[in-house]
Symmetry: D2
Amino acid sequence: MSQAREGDVVLFISKDRKRYLVRLTQDGALHTKHGVIPHADIIGQPLGRKVLTHLGVPFLVLEPSTEDLVLELKRATQIMFPKDIGYTLMKLGVQSGSRVVEAGTGSGGLTLALARVVGPQGRVYSYESNPQALALARKNLESLGLLDRVELKERDIAAGFDETDVDALFLDVRHPWEYLAQARAALKQGGFFGAIVPTTNQVSQLLEGLAEFAFAYVQVEELFVRDYKTVPGRLRPMDRMVAHTGYLIFARKVESPFGQIVGHGAGKIVWPPEPETPDSEEE
Amino acid sequence: MSQAREGDVVLFISKDRKRYLVRLTQDGALHTKHGVIPHADIIGQPLGRKVLTHLGVPFLVLEPSTEDLVLELKRATQIMFPKDIGYTLMKLGVQSGSRVVEAGTGSGGLTLALARVVGPQGRVYSYESNPQALALARKNLESLGLLDRVELKERDIAAGFDETDVDALFLDVRHPWEYLAQARAALKQGGFFGAIVPTTNQVSQLLEGLAEFAFAYVQVEELFVRDYKTVPGRLRPMDRMVAHTGYLIFARKVESPFGQIVGHGAGKIVWPPEPETPDSEEE
Amino acid sequence: MSQAREGDVVLFISKDRKRYLVRLTQDGALHTKHGVIPHADIIGQPLGRKVLTHLGVPFLVLEPSTEDLVLELKRATQIMFPKDIGYTLMKLGVQSGSRVVEAGTGSGGLTLALARVVGPQGRVYSYESNPQALALARKNLESLGLLDRVELKERDIAAGFDETDVDALFLDVRHPWEYLAQARAALKQGGFFGAIVPTTNQVSQLLEGLAEFAFAYVQVEELFVRDYKTVPGRLRPMDRMVAHTGYLIFARKVESPFGQIVGHGAGKIVWPPEPETPDSEEE
Amino acid sequence: MSQAREGDVVLFISKDRKRYLVRLTQDGALHTKHGVIPHADIIGQPLGRKVLTHLGVPFLVLEPSTEDLVLELKRATQIMFPKDIGYTLMKLGVQSGSRVVEAGTGSGGLTLALARVVGPQGRVYSYESNPQALALARKNLESLGLLDRVELKERDIAAGFDETDVDALFLDVRHPWEYLAQARAALKQGGFFGAIVPTTNQVSQLLEGLAEFAFAYVQVEELFVRDYKTVPGRLRPMDRMVAHTGYLIFARKVESPFGQIVGHGAGKIVWPPEPETPDSEEE
């Protein structure tokens, strides 16, 4: 995206730090209280530069990062934070060409990040039971030009997923432990499972469910990001930070250790081995 | 990768938690003190299952995640941690099809993660001045089947990068501030710059350099990951964690605010606007 | 303690960083593999200096901080960390002259810190059901000369505390929620309650108990300490840190909002007001 | 303080969470928009209870913790946070009877915490060059009844401290490295030194100064506190937290290793031994 083209999504930033995420169209224009910028002024030109409104007010026009897209998304719901999305992609092994299921779609933040990584050869299947949320996500993804690789499905996932043999599956729903049979059915043998929940009580419930359904290599993690003020001679962290977004839980679907269909009651797996614990001190 | 195929990279895990990252070949075999597993036992079969050595000792065989690959890499140097890699990919907007420069290659940890995301349509240009490190990285990337999209270059980056107009550029070198003119020359207008350094003194020096070379939207961040013990009825964090890997610095190459070549002495940019500061309390 | 006196506790540190906590006696001597240091060489002299063994090997002799005492304690059990102790003293309002109850005594780490702060006018009542632990704590406190202000009691606290009207009470026991009626009986009206537990499940159980027993201003907190390498030109955090010691829970005993004895079944208090929540975002 | 007495400081809290820190006087009254509460209603009664204004509006009346006092202080300046104060007291070994110097006084937050711990047998010497700040601190400490053990001094500490042989000394000033000769002169041999600074650049400068002035056992630390929402069935951290208050630096005054007056140019001490480093990984 060295020169901006029609269909590209760009980020306009005003001097007073207002941000406008815009998909360029031949006849489009950005209307702000500081004046108008026709998209035609952008198309065919490099980004990363200053453009002027018809009133002569400068804006910076930039290609958005994946983080910018997630943060600037029109949203109806709490979104996953970029720190959690980036880590989740690493843990789920998502790469160019991956086939991934997620639920719920929400406003489409994780969806768009998945779509950018799996690329045109990959596929994201995203389930959402709330039609308003799904409509918003569809609009968001369409404006980013990503709908060619995303299938949005309005569905209660209690009914199961249409897909099988997917590489990875991620649940951002209130009671993820209720859908573990469905998750197993969709995942390929050895596939990657992930979830995010905000409370410790939910973590405990999900851990119980994962044991029951023979998931292995279960990990519970949380991430923190600390930002610094960028004054070289007075380097110091910002005064405040986000303290909590959610607990991330990762696991692997493995063959049932009993050679049979695993369901409620199958009990705790002692093998396969758990990932090495960095410490062994007990309470 | 629903059935393992020749050329796939898989992870064998023993009961005593030893991990073996192996690329499958028709005639290959994993030799362990617990016995031998011929690759032929794996090829054509689903992963995520138990396999037995010729002595009857069970191993779990799994597809590795990007994190597994980074952590299991043969390494001669400190590697970037998965938490930092995942976040960096989000901040640099790396996606399927991106063209990215990095230096130094090191053991190839970031390289492989970039290569998996940019996919066959993208390209990673990775510079390393140490021939031993480069040879190891080449071996690592080859064994992962990723060399088709990575160009490894033995080079002191003081001489500059061969590429221009790249989407993103990342420096994991001791004195990143010495290569900012070269980084500007390689990046497209508006391109994404990133770096990692371990000390606060280096952060300050890099911040000075970024101001001098007209980079904008400078951010300094650090990430923490906290792991939990996964016992549902006794949920608690691990006793110890990694406290520091490095400071991440991100910035954007923007048009010189002076409409001319920007170099040493050009001074601090007051426009474009800095990202909104979450707080404004002063020391 | 400008000149060391008989009865003072001092810290000897060898070049190879071995630490010896010693109470000075007229005829005593420190015996190490590097030679002997008679206490008489220390008594009457300032601390913070180098002393030589009879073999000429140097040791540094220092007054221990409260943290040093806690960390060097002979211990049979997990101890509270200095970070948690220091914060607890602030939250419980412990000061010169305070009367404080704690259970269990453990090895006496919190006990000694309390004893140093409450001073000769204050009083620490410390309960422990394990006779071995109590014997060790007694020895530890005696060697620090603090037994004049500490009463150690071998007792199962299910039977209640002997004291009433105490300023503060702290529980470091496995099931603190089982002793809240006893805690209320010991605390003065308005008194400070504190506890430490390692798991989130215990936190939830204790929160339920505190609501039932009409405690107010309930807070759950955890502390982290990050250490830095002290090289001025290469300032950076240590690579690893303690990620978890325990969750601290603080509350205040207030008058029953129903004007009657509060016990099981009294339900959740909506008044008095909870401390202002820094945020109100919901899951 | 089982029954409130004249002269006690109490905390009134309204239903809408307004907090009023008040010293009780026989004829005093708390005036709020919800009505008036005569101090006489409080004196002679237990705290931790509900009291009504003349309009019948309920307030809770409580004894303040040390933390409450620090946070409710009338302040003209940034104060030290309770987490940092509590830890500092542990590191400096402050106890009942200690003699401690601090500069600057600021609004008196650390001063009051020190005064409560050192008790009537101890002494706090607090220096402040700003007369307005000192007047406010005096008023704050007077209203808490702590002036009997605190000496406030309006003074530029470049001129040195009046005291010698003090147990501990703490600097909360902009350039603490400029006063290390003065700090050495005030501290007893082996005494405890502490400081707080907000930026990494200041930490580096102070570390250089401490080496030059033969301080030993230098530590740089930072503390984080994370608060949780106190709903037992939905336990989770608050969304936001304080990310930075300051870096704490601690050190010990030891005998000059060269047996002479130590000053600028004396160089880095290699003995006494540094505290054991929890890790030794290098950049």
